[in-house]
Symmetry: C2
Subunit: 753 residues, 2 copies
């Protein structure tokens, strides 16, 4: 069962169209909301006239911020700085200002143009430079209170500036380090705003009744949503239900609270269930990844030994903080890369601008930083005349070495993985002209500490139900978690059912994020299943005679030296006419002495190698071959691990070559798939290979550890390094469009001519 390519448990539903997503939910009596969004990026609201809209056919209510029945208008997982509807000030184009509730979507839509908002435009801050310039307009005049999270104890917004959050770290003596260096390389890399583009946009349906709040939500974080909603509406946690159908993709965009509290406020006001479903364009105006400018200066000895690294990182977070401050510090924590460097300084700043809000995005800031440091590793190698693989092998941390004092030592074999990547791409083979190969690796810190609980019920006929709030977002969690139960209870997979997350029913889970579910929820599931197993063996010992420790479970039966007994028989004898066993299991991460939050349960690592061919006349880069090395510890379902890696690489190809949200004067110019290019099948490399490294060294079930994000992190630098080795140009800004590559070739060719 473990280590086999078990068929996904959601395939039959999804293949037959029976899988239920939130768009399949009908709550009796539900009505529909649409949002009037600001056409301007920065303004003070002078007046809102909803009188005409209120009279439109089918319209039930038209509400501005002041009309919302909430205890607290502001929300956010780091600072509570984001209002449900613009509260006097508009901070980005597309920000919701007025909500219309009508009997039908069409009626709500038709009433939108009848809303009249009068505003006074304010100077627009739509770039990092504009945001940190002296005398820049300040987006948030008041600092909003920080949410208490263990990993954010040091976190505070900085009033009077656009700096939303800063994080710093230092070890050793940077000046002495650089003084000892034979070569100092300093570069600035940029990574643009990128949209998640999950196929399913955000949607929520809320019902408010005397028992409390029920919200159907496309969310990765039902429990944090519950917490925030309970606070905003002044209810006990027990009175807030969050029900999560299948998600049509979620790459961080469905993390934490999004449209749920607004939908609830509307439902509360109109006293009917309300559905709010965003369009694709509205999705672009709701979430994105943080753009980053990373000035990276590295000192290195002639032999390639890294001695100092100075990292200055600006994250362009957008109009509101959302989880940005946590992205800043969690990713900046690993900004120097998985290398042995005695002298390090990291200074990271999250900055507000009048743009769409940046939120969690698969990789949680690390792709932006790895882009810089792994590109620079190749620059260093080139300058020193070293092989990039050898340079990495010389500096990369070995298993058991300390990454950051107080945190978990390195728990993987980077050198072995890099060698695997190199071997798989044919690193030492000769390359034809205009072809090149590149390598990159990364380290990502997980969410820590975190908590997950699970329950397993063994029914009277020996079939089992797993209760877990892990959200199936396409990653296959339902399958791997079911496999763990099936393995522990010696059942075929089709006798294990996994219930949907419904937090009134499902036990606590902190998040479906940070590549944690198989590993950490997996531990909770394993423990819950073993709890059932232990109860079953105790019953078996009474039934069959003998010692429970001498018994095992096999093929749905308790097997003892004295005989065997099917689960159904054992339970019937124990309970009589019915009854079932309930097992529970919890994973609870410890804080330890880790500088940020809690000790990493594992380090998520990724390595990749790319081979490209560059058309010097057009700048077009063809990705010929791609190898991804996933250190999974133990692959519970190898096919699903490979699918995760493939999906991640595809996403990496997107931001490497195409994806970029383009702003001009505070206006997003390309909020649709017409103008915003995501990867398509034709963009896949001719040859793709995932290599699963299974050293059994993860903390999860059977030695598993998390993957799923690492696969997209090394893509861009591996490709950039390959381009550099193919045609000798170094690209420092993403995406590497043909135009950008062509221009770089043009600019560099005189020097190489």
């Amino acid at each position: 069962m473990i280590g086999t390519a078990a068929k996904r448990v959601d395939t039959p539903e999804k293949a037959t169209g029976r899988a239920r997503f939130i768009s399949d939910v009908i709550v009796p009596g539900m009505v529909h909301a649409k949002l009037w969004r600001s056409p301007v990026p920065h303004a003070r609201i002078i007046a809102i006239d909803t009188s005409r809209a209120r009279k439109a056919p089918g319209v039930i209510a038209v509400l501005a911020a002041k009309d919302l029945p909430v205890k607290d208008l502001y929300y956010g997982p780091a600072f509570k700085d984001q209002p449900l509807l613009a509260d006097g000030v508009i901070r980005h184009a597309g920000e919701p200002v007025v909500a219309i509730v009508a009997e039908t979507i069409a009626q709500a839509d038709a009433a939108l143009p009848l809303v009249a908002v009068e505003w006074h435009e304010l100077p627009v801050v739509d770039s990092l430079d504009a945001a940190v310039a002296p005398g820049a307009p300040v987006l948030h005049e008041r600092a909003r209170p920080a949410v208490h999270f263990r990993d954010l104890t040091s976190l505070k917004p900085i009033a009077g500036t656009n700096v939303c959050h800063q994080y710093s770290y230092a070890r050793g003596d940077l000046d002495r380090g650089f003084a000892e260096a034979d070569l100092v390389v300093e570069q600035t890399f940029t990574f643009p705003m990128v949209h998640h583009y999950s196929l399913e946009p955000h949607c929520a349906i809320a019902r408010v009744d005397p028992t409390g709040i029920t919200v159907w939500a496309s969310t990765q974080h039902p429990f944090p949503v519950r917490k925030e909603v309970a606070e905003m509406f002044g209810l006990p946690l027990a009175r807030v239900q969050v029900i999560v159908p299948y998600l049509g993709g979620a790459y961080g965009n469905k993390s934490y609270t999004k449209i749920e509290p607004l939908t609830i406020a509307l439902a509360s006001h109109v006293r009917r269930p309300v559905r709010l479903a965003l369009t694709v364009e509205e999705g672009f105006k709701t979430v994105r990844r943080a753009a980053v400018r990373y000035r990276l200066k590295t000192g290195v000895r002639r032999d390639g030994t890294l001695v100092a690294r100075d990292c200055e990182i600006y994250y362009q977070l957008g109009a509101y903080a959302d989880v940005g401050p946590r992205v800043v510090q969690k990713s900046a924590y690993t900004a120097a890369g998985p290398y042995r460097i005695p002298n390090v300084r990291i200074q990271a700043y999250g900055v507000y601008t009048n743009t769409v809000v940046s939120v969690a995005f698969r990789g949680y800031g690390v792709p932006q930083l790895t882009w810089a440091y792994e590109s620079q590793m190749d620059v260093i190698a080139e300058r020193l005349g070293l092989d990039p693989l050898e340079l990495r092998l010389k500096n990369v941390l070995a298993r058991g070495e300390v990454f950051i004092e107080g945190d978990r030592p390195v728990d993987c074999d980077y050198a072995g993985g890099l060698r695997k990547a190199a071997a798989a791409i044919g690193w030492t083979e000769p390359t034809p002209p205009r072809r090149g190969r590149g390598l990159a690796c990364t380290i990502k810190a997980p969410l820590a500490p975190s908590v997950s609980s699970a329950m397993v019920r063994l029914h009277a006929d020996g079939s089992a139900t797993l209760l877990t709030a892990t959200v199936e977002i396409g990653q296959g969690a339902r399958t791997t978690l079911s496999q763990i139960v099936a393995q522990e209870l010696a059942l075929p997979l089709d006798r294990v059912r996994i219930a949907r997350p419904e937090i009134g029913m499902s036990p606590y889970d902190q998040a479906t994020s940070a590549s944690r579910s198989t590993t950490l929820m997996g531990l909770a599931v394993l423990r819950a299943a073993r709890d059932v197993r232990d109860q079953l063996l105790a019953i078996g010992a009474r039934q069959l005679g003998g010692d429970a420790t001498a018994m095992t479970l096999h093929d749905g039966a308790i097997v003892a030296p004295a005989g065997r007994c099917r689960y159904a028989e054992a339970l019937a004898a124990h309970f009589g006419t019915g009854g079932e066993l309930i097992g529970r299991g919890t994973y609870r991460g410890e804080r330890g002495h880790a500088p940020l939050g809690g000790e990493a349960p594992f380090w998520e690592v990724g390595m990749a190698a790319a081979e490209v061919e560059v058309d010097e006349d057009t700048g077009r880069v063809k990705l010929l071959r791609y190898v991804s090395i996933a250190d999974v510890g133990k692959a519970i379902n190898p096919r699903e691990c490979e699918a995760q890696e493939e999906g991640a690489a595809m996403m990496g190809i997107g931001h490497t070559f195409f994806e970029q949200m383009v702003y001009e004067g505070g206006q997003l110019l390309n909020p649709s798939l017409i103008d915003y290019r995501v990867p398509v099948m034709g963009d896949l490399p001719d040859e793709y290979r995932s290599v699963l490294v299974e050293n059994g060294d993860g903390p999860g079930p059977y030695g598993a550890k998390g993957i799923g994000e690492s696969g997209l992190i090394p893509t861009a630098p591996a490709v950039a390094n390959a381009i550099a080795r193919a045609v000798g140009v170094r690209i420092t800004d993403l995406p590497m469009t043909p135009e950008r590559v062509w221009r770089a070739i043009q600019a560099s060719s005189p020097r190489f001519a």
Copy 2:
């Protein structure tokens, strides 16, 4: 919290119309079913032509028995003798023969007359006499297999006759007993067919998809329904979900499987969710209470000492067994009443007839038997010139006395209760002419052994959720069970939420029946809450220092000698950013040496006193005063206990004075509220009083034991005894309509003139 009249937790929902019943459920894509029902009571089907109905507008499918996609067409909680649709033979008028599924209810209805069924009529067996007459037509030619239930191990259908089940019991020497008697009284009492008339008729919505079956059902027995459905459709239990909204009343009519499997079969066939909602008239043609003819012969000494009792009971069960065989033996087990009688013989027969199926009905056969034995107690008293109270006090079992060898000894104070009833009705006070007072008492065996599990989750903010599959049928279970959690966790009631029964999520519960929920599910809830409490105290001991055993919970905080700590603080310190405690608890009844099934966890006892005034000219009986004595052990919510008693008495008034399903030639003549009279507010006595006896001697939480059925059992004999003492006539057939009373007066008056 315990012993207080806490406000019902479902009041706000129900008072505002927000409570969701099954009629409020919309499953996307759902279509509607209607049933073509037989106009004749007994026939062999020759042909079914559905071709015209199939072509009707909106019709999706028209199915007869042979078309249903089931592994087994037959179901039933005792014998699997009832087909989902008539299988070649029609056995009662109103039996479903063909199902039509259409886009709308109206379209399905419109197609019904287009179904053409050809049949050959068979002789009709619509009375007990007809059923047991030599050479009577046999309704069921083949015996169907019995379902394994612990209390039905001796149960088998008797092939070749209409006797569906027989039960017998004997002790002592009956002949010697009667020989020793100074007086032998023999009478025959009848109790007619009665409909439950819950306000909400049966309804089910079924969805079948690749994950299995989901059925929304108005059922008191979600787990037994799951079991039967899983068997009928060949699925593991884990793949059958039963979701139970609020029930609009259920008095046994929603016990076990009813329309759920048919609805599922239809959904499976049409590959869309299907809703089947019965009308009131269809309800009359679906369920009823067993009619009983009880020949009771009692031998008694001159001083009133009972010495022998011979009980011959025929239960007219209807066309199919349903739970009838279990009603037969469970009620007949107590047919001799709660009296000390050395020589007893009980012979009980359940008989098939061509009438609507009798199912579980509040009181489970005991009202029919108590009607006889408590009427006869007064006849004996009158014949011996004894006071009916004194006669009962002389013979009634004392606490600790054996009722039936091997079963639980009597656990209540009958004598004390009877004296309370007598005192409350003013037993010894003089009565004006045509007024009389009557007493009655009863004993009812519970469902045993049985199993219930519960879970309690304590959330991060210190609020709690209770997971239990006990169904709220109006009886207030959600409130009492929530009170137990609130008490054990020292929380106000509004911080405890109870989740609806959804058996994919809720832990196992055998049944919401047999007055067991507060007592037996209550124990499971108590244990689950205490499991949470123990975990909380252990956390407190680590937080506050000191010994957990020295700590208590008070007002949402752990209180130790060293200080106090709110739950939210303790959990935050223990878990970090989230996480919650999960408590579990199970009640599991033991079989013991009880003759039937398992040892009674408690005896349900009831005592009542009535005062009536009889209009001799019209036969109209006015119920002036009524007292109900409920031995509750401990009233967790006294107001709700009283409400249960009041509701039960009201129901008892119904079958005492009005209710009767009238058959003629196998046709039910009064299947509607126009012709079938249920009690209305004007039928209430001028003065009603519930007396709660709280000796703390129950096995449930805080000494509670079950009530809810006992209240309706003594009503009819108490009233009949009062009538006899008012005007000297003895009625032996229910209901006691004015006509029947008047005729009795007319018949008796010459003797008393």
